[in-house]
Amino acid sequence: MSRLATGGRVDRGAPVRFTFDGKAYTGFKGDTLAAALLANDVTLVGRSFKYHRPRGILTAGPEEPNALVELRTGARREPNTRATTIELYDGLEAASQNHIGSLKFDLMSVNSLFSPLFVGGFYYKTFMWPAALWEKLYEPVIRRAAGLGRAAGVPDPDTYDKAHAFCDVLVIGAGPAGLAAAKAAAKSGARVILAEDDFELGGRLLSERQTIDGAPAADWIRATEAELAACGVRVMLRTQIFGAYDGGVFGAVERVSDHLAAPGPHQPRQRMWKIVAKRTVLCAGAVERQLVFGGNDTPGVMLAGAVRTYLNRYGVAPGKRAAVFTAGDDGWKTAIDLAAAGVTLVAVVDPRTDVPAELVAAAQAAGARVMLGAVVSDARGGQALKRIDVTRADGEMTAFAVDLLAVSGGWNPQVALATHLGGKPTWSDEIHSFLPGKPPPGMSVAGAAAGAFALADCLAYGSLAGTEAAVGLGFKAAPFSTLVACPDTWASAPLWKVKSARTKAFVDQQHDVTDKDVILAAQEGYKSVEHLKRYTTLGMATDQGKTSNLNGHALMAEITGRSMTETGTTMSRPPHLPVAMGVLAGSHRGEHFRPMRKVAGHQWAADNGAVFVDAGQWKRPQWFNAPGETDWLVSVVREVKATRTAVGVCDVSTLGKIDVQGPDAAAFLDRLYINGFAKVAVGKCRYGLMLREDGLAYDDGTAARLAEDHFLVSTTTANAARVMQNMEYARQVLWPELDVQIVSVTEQWSQYAVAGPKSRELLERLFGGAVDVSDAALPYMGVTEGTFAGSPFRLFRLSFSGELAYELAVPARFGDAALKAIMAAGQGLGVTPYGTEALGVMRIEKGHVGGAELNGTTTATDLGLGRMQSKTKDYIGKVLSARPGLTDPERPAFVGFKPVAPGVRLRAGAHFVALGADGVAANDEGYMTSVAYSPTLGCWIGLGLLKRGPARIGERVRAYDPLRGEDIEVEVCAPVFVDPEGARLHG
């Protein structure tokens, strides 16, 4: 066991049992999985992405490139989770990933022997030929070999939630700077949200043996936490801000239940937050850089700051004989902390020669050999570190036997959230890293994220930034006292690569990118850091190169002889850290993917065999399965026949209904429709067609005049919202001088078409004489209003089916009752409910245009409605409908089609070519838009657009469908197949 006898913030009275690769271990409450594994001497945790090299734990945070595991089992199995961020819970099950066979004897590690094949760009260079093998062989093999974890493969049993939060000041990160900023802003009176990715407040303070005002930092954290609570600060732990967006909007994921075996009752696993902040203080801290030397990926090589975290926060010694390799003063703190924890400190190696004397003295006092002006050229040991080779400037090499090497290349401020909106980070020669540059409006950066690493600076600048944020919003600054922090030093020297390395040196451990890959990319011309990233995959995947990018970019700068400012760094985009797809979807999955709209008669339809179809968000009955029916065509034929011979009932509530009122209502409609509405009498309806501005047909429907200044416009279901928008635009922007008001009343009314020769009889029975539905009282295209059975109603004499027909509208609360009453009144008359399929068949039989014809490419003339176009008034689309291209007599126009050989099925989409002509595009004369089996005619019929169609009635053409391999001779006919005189509508 490597657990220290004392120390750390773990609860030693609360043991936690867990398994890794099936073996049982015990840790403590407060451990991460990584800490508990190290406490149990498990240092080999996974295999690398490409070469399947043995890998351990490099870091103690979300930047971890190596220690990725599959967490949980079964449906909750989650791949690529970072052992360094997983909170230990009782019964946790984790498994290593990316190996065939056991973790120790991974059969895929043979890849390492072929590593010359797998250099940067190998995807693009290898497996090019023969092409046929790509799908069958190369891709599956590569996917198998190069994957990391496995997804669960079954539906996620957990739920995910979404929520919004608003504040004056958002503080991102609860380290010393963030705590100070949140406190200062809140004390000034601002509404503050403090978001922290960790499960504890404190940030780096949790990992260090630092003091504030002479007391352990933990005391200050506790006191500050209490003050934040007293000021009403909303503290969001386990909440990772993953992206900055326009308008002060931030995306965040709260891991509500990830630290539990399973979410509690009604608890989501994670919650996605959209946080809107007037001001933001970014205190995201810094991430330590690794050093690039031979075997730097060997388990046992660990970032120096992470070593301190394991020692001081978790009370775990990650090794027994340790050395430190650091290019800055900060790494020396690890040497001192290791010695203080009782770990044998063998050596401290620093490429610099001018190191503060007190650091050297402290290391020597701990018994370490101090080697200045020296580097670790190679770490050796394969699955566990055994030896390091240290090379001095004069080339002399010394080997040390160690099982832990703490490395530090300096610290990189976490600037990503300051750059998501396009800000460019700026290079600093002082800290040898990038600073935030110009953050987006409303954001300031404080503490280590701004390159101020010293604790005293974090506290001071944090307080200042929090105060400034509040003052900027008009709050009065609350005074804050200066805190006295223990002194620390931060000088470092750049060391991008150890040149004396003999073995493979990794720049990006997660993607197995070596220093040689960077050189190769440069040689092949991929010198931009963005090209370098795509060519080598440097900085991709879950860690996004947080410990590695800078080394790679600096190497490229060195190779190309450019400065770091010239070289730049890759664009950082949201998400800053991995985000599960589930939390982005939230509860919108399965049938709840989008909201549903249900008519008042939905339940009745469902109870009576309706099969529903989506019409936008609406659910509409497509047809009704009568008992014993299994073939949709049988049902549809029955519904059409019943309507044409008796009476059918169709729910048409989903059609758009727009109420138009005002003294200028008629003038308004005159400008929207191609035909005139001013002369429509009160109590009458008229069919109208609207064009788009470009002169093409847009939407059709009827408008009923209810009063001199009152119309009710109907639209198609599909276009209801867009027509409403267009009318609002016309009313508010185009013709503000008109006194007209419009509002959607679609949802107010349930409306039922009652169609067929017995429809009048049905309504007479329904109304029992209370309403006169005779032709004299309510002729074709008439409308009347009244009250019946305690409900207002509107009754229209409209027909889409071509039969004697009515549409009855009632307020939606009576929709269910009215539908049942209609059906009851039709008992004995053969009343039959019909769905959208039968509706479609009857409209094709009647030659009415539908969505397939109103398809955005047709003119009124194309559709045979050209004569409706008024010559005496202006309307939307009039001018452009006269364009030469739209008035060309050769344009395909609307006609009907019948197969020459009876019984042959027609297909929508088939193209027309002249008999004897080749089926090639040059001979194309139009296409079939709609087809249906006509129960009335007993054959398939079609509607379509044929070049000069109306002049060619009686001709024969081919309906050629190369997609389905069909070629059918059809006769051109008038588009109205049933009752062409319209006799059934009247009388």
């Binding site: 919004h164 009122q661 008001q741 509002v743 305690g790 609360r813």
Partner: protein
Amino acid sequence: MAETWQATSAFAGVAAPAHLAGAGLTATVLDNLGLASVQARKGAGVALAAKVQAAYGLDLPQHPQRVAAGEVAFVGTGPGAWMAVSEAGPLGWADRLAADLSGLASVNDQSDGYAALRLEGPAVLDVLAKGVFLDLHDSVFPPGSAAGVVIAHIGAILWRREAQVFEVLVFRSYAASFWQWVEESAAEYGLAVAR
């Protein structure tokens, strides 16, 4: 004369699932709310406000606000547009308005066009935060405030009556989908249903 048709609630079949019992959120189905859209005729704004004051004893709000007097409230829904709400019920509400405001506004009965819920309780702000992308803090959205919002992809009209009492309208056809959001969002706090 046939018997009177039975009205059906937009939230027919909706009930508090037993497993969510608790008092975090209480949802009251408002089946009997009279709703009417009122849109000012061109240039009639001042006269309309005077008429509303005279007829209903309230100041017609010129902003997204709810102003109530007795059983009647006007909710500002847009420039020159209101939802007039009567707690006395839908019967005759729009007709009365149309008569009172004749020549000054266009009026439409919307009592059936919307499904209405009152949401209240100690968790109401936490529940609403899951759907409403609007700052509902007391300092920003005090009682009397109203807004057009989108909740779970469903358009809604929301107003605040008291600190922990909100009312919301959604198009009637969305009632089931909206209720599903209420149920899911309130689950962790406990949900009770009243009518």
